[in-house]
Symmetry: C2
DNA sequence: TCATAATTTATATTCATTCTAATTAAAATG
DNA sequence: CATTTTAATTAGAATGAATATAAATTATGA
C-alpha cells in the first residue's frame, strides 16, 4: 500500500491525513495481513521506526479507526486490555490459552444446522466463536 | 441451600469456612440460579445485607472459587472488567450490546456439522459462542 | 495566506485489580 | 481445652490500562 493509497483510505473514511493516522494506517494496513494489536504494541512499533506518537493519540486514532470501520474491537480476550483486529469481516478466533495469542478462523470454518432464536424484543446482530486451544 | 450445605460445598472443595466465603457462597449459589457477577456487584450486594466484606477479599474469594471450579471466568465481555459466571457447565452467551448484560444460551442451542480443526501442535479445549443482540 | 475547526500531546485522572504487610481467625496438635 | 501453626482477611498502597483535560499545533477550505 503506497503513501497515496493510505491517503485515499483515510480520506475516503472522512479522516484527516495527519501524521499519526498515516503512520498507524501504514503500520496496520500496508501489507494486507490480518493483525490483532493493542495500543501499546502499536505505539512501540512506531517508536522502533523512529515515528513516536503519544500513547493517548494511539488510543484516539485506533478508536477513530474503529468508528470508521477500518478496525474492529475484539471483545473475546484476556480481561483487561483492548485488542483491535484489522480483519473487519465476520470471522472467529482461536485463543491460545498459554500465550494469549489470537488467530483468525474463517467464517465458513463453522457450519451449523441449529442456532438459538433471539430473545423477545431483540435481534441477533453478530455471532462469534472463540475456540480455546492448548499447545501440547 | 442451607448453612450446612454451604459448609459442605466449601469443605468439599478444600476451602476453609470463613465468614467472607460463606457469605459469598450463599449469595451466589443459595438459590441455584445462574448469575454473571462482577466483584463490585458482589461486594455491594453483601454490604446491602449488612455483611460488609473488603473488596480485596471479594476478589480473592471469587478467584479462589474459580480455582476450585465453583465459578467460571468469562472472557467474552466488555473490555475492562472481570465477570464471573456461576454456571460452570459448557454453554454460550447472548451479549446485549445496549446494556452489556449477559444471558446464558444452553450448549445444545448450537449444532454444528463443521468445525475447524485445531492448528498443528495444539488441541481444542473449549469453544464458546457469543451472540450479540440488539433490542429493537 | 488566513481563519477555524479538528487533532495532537503531556499530564492528570479514573477505574479495576492486585500487592503488601499487619492483624485476625481457622484448623491441627498436644 | 489450650496452644501452635497456618491460612485468610483487611486497609491501604501500588499497578496498569484507558480516558479526560486543556494548551499547542496542524490540516483544510475560503
Amino acid at each position: 500500500m503506497s503513501d497515496l493509497d493510505v491517503h485515499n483510505l483515510l480520506a475516503s473514511h472522512n479522516l484527516r491525513c495527519t501524521r499519526p493516522r498515516v503512520k498507524l494506517a501504514t503500520l496496520l494496513f500496508a501489507d494486507g495481513r490480518d493483525r490483532h494489536v493493542t495500543a501499546e504494541w502499536a505505539a512501540d512499533a512506531l517508536a522502533k521506526e523512529g515515528d513516536e506518537v503519544a500513547l493517548a493519540t494511539v488510543y484516539n486514532t485506533l478508536n477513530s479507526f474503529v468508528e470508521a470501520g477500518l478496525l474492529r474491537q475484539i471483545s473475546c480476550q484476556e480481561a483487561g486490555r483492548q485488542v483491535f483486529d484489522t480483519n473487519v469481516e465476520p470471522h472467529h478466533h482461536f485463543y491460545n490459552e498459554q500465550t494469549g495469542e489470537l488467530t483468525d478462523v474463517p467464517q465458513n470454518a463453522f457450519r451449523f444446522y441449529k442456532m438459538p432464536a433471539a430473545p423477545d424484543g431483540a435481534e441477533i446482530v453478530d455471532w462469534q466463536v472463540t475456540v480455546t486451544i492448548r499447545p501440547h
